[in-house]
Structure formats: structure tokens, C-alpha cells
Subunit: 195 residues, 2 copies
DNA sequence: GAACTACATTGAACTACTTCAATAAACGCT
DNA sequence: AGCGTTTATTGAAGTAGTTCAATGTAGTTC
């Protein structure tokens, strides 16, 4: 079977084994949608209608500071990552986030009702999501720790070591915001690293 | 049935319904342990043997910066919260964290083998943990955002608004570290707020 | 109730970073 | 190729925060 969802299926299969029947059910619950650079997957104030898995491309999740009107990057995502506002998606609450496509992307999308139906039909997928979220919480705790404990230079070095793919696929000023520093700071760090 | 685990049971029951039989199985998988102020639940370098739910008291999770030798608070927890190093617990990898009791505490502990047995016997608990982790990731994303976007004063105000119980039960210098600022800074903010 | 320990306050000096502004390079488009 | 737009660089000035050191306060132990 030919499907763009293969990447997602592979990801899930790392953690739970699905029978052919279950695979068929699984695939029925998703839709694939293409987005072009600049398009929005989610606007702040709206309710997040889909949980989303990136098949290709990259997206950013950001918050607009009402005072400074600057965008603060909350997360960055590329292929093989999840990207949505889970709180808004599951609680049905208005999202604080904007999610926008940075480079042309294909997303696997699942609606809330489909998500719930899928969990009912294949309960062991709860396990998959539990494990994914476990890894995500660890990564977020590390991010908090690094932000608090490390100076700008070391945070940047850590980042390019840990996420070379993000570093290569995203403009510098987004990475700067993600790391909690100014774009100029990244520029100066890079200049200094060259010598 | 009388059990100190009631608090945990109540927490779980918010999200999944357990039959009396399942409750009995559930309870068998946990042990309750008392810790006194200053005792360690986990030492860095060791493998986290237990997932832990706080029944009473408070704990801190911190990392010792190898350069400055200062402790950086990664998380704070009081009753009704989870507190462990999930990555170490599930992967069996050495933990970066120390987890130490701040005020006398009772913890509900579950070993890895018991955790896995419990998930096998009552698979719908996967759902409970999935939902808990969902909430936790949202809280962590908010924490990252606030650290990056807000100045010290507003971070502190936000914190005491969101976690009054933490604020009341923990010394100020721990809260300062948690918020990514110096203890002196918190002191100055508080002084300023009084006027 | 003195003496110790743990935590909190205050102010002065310092610094890692930001902001601003101007220039430069890179990228896409016709 | 050439033009506009978006992204990156560089330096100078400013600042939000840290660090350090000294003093103060509260809770514990004998």
C-alpha cells in the first residue's frame, strides 16, 4: 500500500505493533494536507482542530507578545515530529499559539473525534502517545534547565549539537528566539566560533 | 478500605474508571514510603528506580552545574503531583537529576517492573498517564515561553498567581532558581510589590 | 535564652545580554 | 541580469539582571 502516511506509521510502529487490520483502521482516521510556506495551521484565539504530525517541511509555533508585539518561538518542528497545541486540541480551549509553516510542508492531521474514535478502536495507541509525551517532557525539562543555567554561547552550541537538522532548515532568527536570545546574539556567537 | 494511596487513586479516577477488582490490583503495585526533610529520593548518576507520586510534603528536582557548582531547580512538586526522572526511569539511563525532600513527605512509589505489570494488567491506565503527560507538556511549554518572553517581575507574579501552594510551601531561593532568577531578585521584587 | 544555622534583605559594582541603526549578504521573482 | 524583500552582520550605547558582601531575621537545639 502506497501512502504518504508511511512515515507516521513507521513512527508508531517503533512503539506498538499493529496488525494489518489495525493499520487499515489507523490510516482511515488521518488526512494528509499540504501547506505552503507562510500558511497557517493554527491561529491564536482559535481552537486547535487537529493533532498534527509533520511528514515533510517545517513549522513554527509562536506567541505574539501583546506588549512588545514580538513573536516568541515556543517550538520548532520538522519531519517526523508532532506539532500542535495539545491543550487546545484536547480541552477545546482557544489556543494562545500561532502555528505557521516555515517551509512547504505535508502534515498528517487527525480531528478530535477521529482521535477519540481511534483510541477506542485501538486502545494500545494510548501507549504510543504516552511514550511520545514522556520523551517530550524530558526534552522540555532539558530546555528549561538549559535556558536557566547556561549562557547564550553554550545554549547555542548545545542546540546545534542536538538538533543539526533544525539548525540547517530554519532561519537563524527563529532559532535565536527558540533559544531565548536575540538574533544578533546568534550572529555574534557564530562569528566568534569561526575564529 | 483505608489507604494512604487514596489520594493517588482519586487522581487516577478523575480520568479512568477502575472496577473494585482493578482498584485492588492497582493498590498492590505501589508502596508508600516516608521521607524526612533533606533525604534524597534520587541521586544524580543513579538510575531512577521509581515513578513517584507525592501524597504529602514537597520535593525539589535539581541539577548541579559542574562549572559553577550551583544547584539549578528543574522542578518543584507538592502533594498531588508526580515527581521523578521519567527518562531515567523508563530508559534505565543514569539520571542527571537529584531529587531531594524539601519538607517531610510521603511518596507513592512504583518500580519499573511493577509499572509494566500494571500497564499489562490494566491497559487503560496508559490513558491516564497519557493525559497527565499532556497536561505536563503544556505546562512546560508555558514555562519555556514565560522564561523567554517575560521579565523577572512578571514571571514572579505569574508564578504566585498560578502556584500559590508552591509559593507558600517552599523557600524563596528555590522558587527563584525555578524561575531562572537570583534569590536577591525575588527579594527585590517582593519589596517593590509591597509599596 | 544564648548560640547556631538557614533563609532573606539591601545596596553597590559589574556584565551578559539587548536594542538600535546602519550596512551587507542571500534569496526569489519577472 | 537586476530589483525588491527577507535574513544576517557589526558596532555602539543602554539595561535588566547577576554577583558579592554585609546585615538582618527567624526558627532550632542545647
Amino acid at each position: 500500500m502506497e501512502t504518504k502516511l508511511q512515515l507516521l506509521l513507521d513512527h508508531v510502529s517503533k512503539w506498538v505493533n499493529l496488525s494489518p487490520d489495525e493499520v487499515a483502521i489507523f490510516l482511515q482516521h488521518w488526512e494528509v494536507q499540504e501547506f505552503q510556506k507562510g500558511e497557517y495551521v493554527l491561529y491564536n484565539g482559535k481552537i486547535c482542530q487537529y493533532d498534527a504530525f509533520l511528514l515533510t517541511g517545517s513549522v513554527k509555533g509562536y506567541y505574539i507578545d501583546p506588549v512588545t508585539a514580538k513573536e516568541e518561538i515556543v517550538f520548532l518542528a520538522i519531519a517526523d515530529w508532532w506539532a500542535s497545541d495539545l491543550e487546545s486540541f484536547h480541552q477545546g480551549s482557544p489556543s494562545m499559539l500561532n502555528i505557521q509553516v516555515v517551509s512547504d510542508a505535508e502534515l498528517a492531521l487527525i480531528s478530535k473525534s477521529n482521535f477519540e474514535s481511534l483510541m477506542r478502536m485501538i486502545p494500545k495507541l494510548e501507549r504510543y502517545f504516552r511514550i511520545i509525551l514522556q520523551g517530550y517532557t524530558s526534552a522540555l525539562l532539558r530546555r528549561v534547565y538549559m535556558r536557566n543555567a547556561l549562557p547564550a554561547r553554550e545554549r547555542y552550541l548545545q542546540f546545534i549539537g542536538q538538533y543539526p537538522a533544525l539548525n540547517q532548515n530554519l532561519p537563524q532568527y527563529l532559532i535565536a528566539s527558540y533559544l531565548g536570545m536575540s538574533a544578533e546574539m546568534v550572529s555574534k556567537i557564530r562569528a566568534e566560533l569561526k575564529s
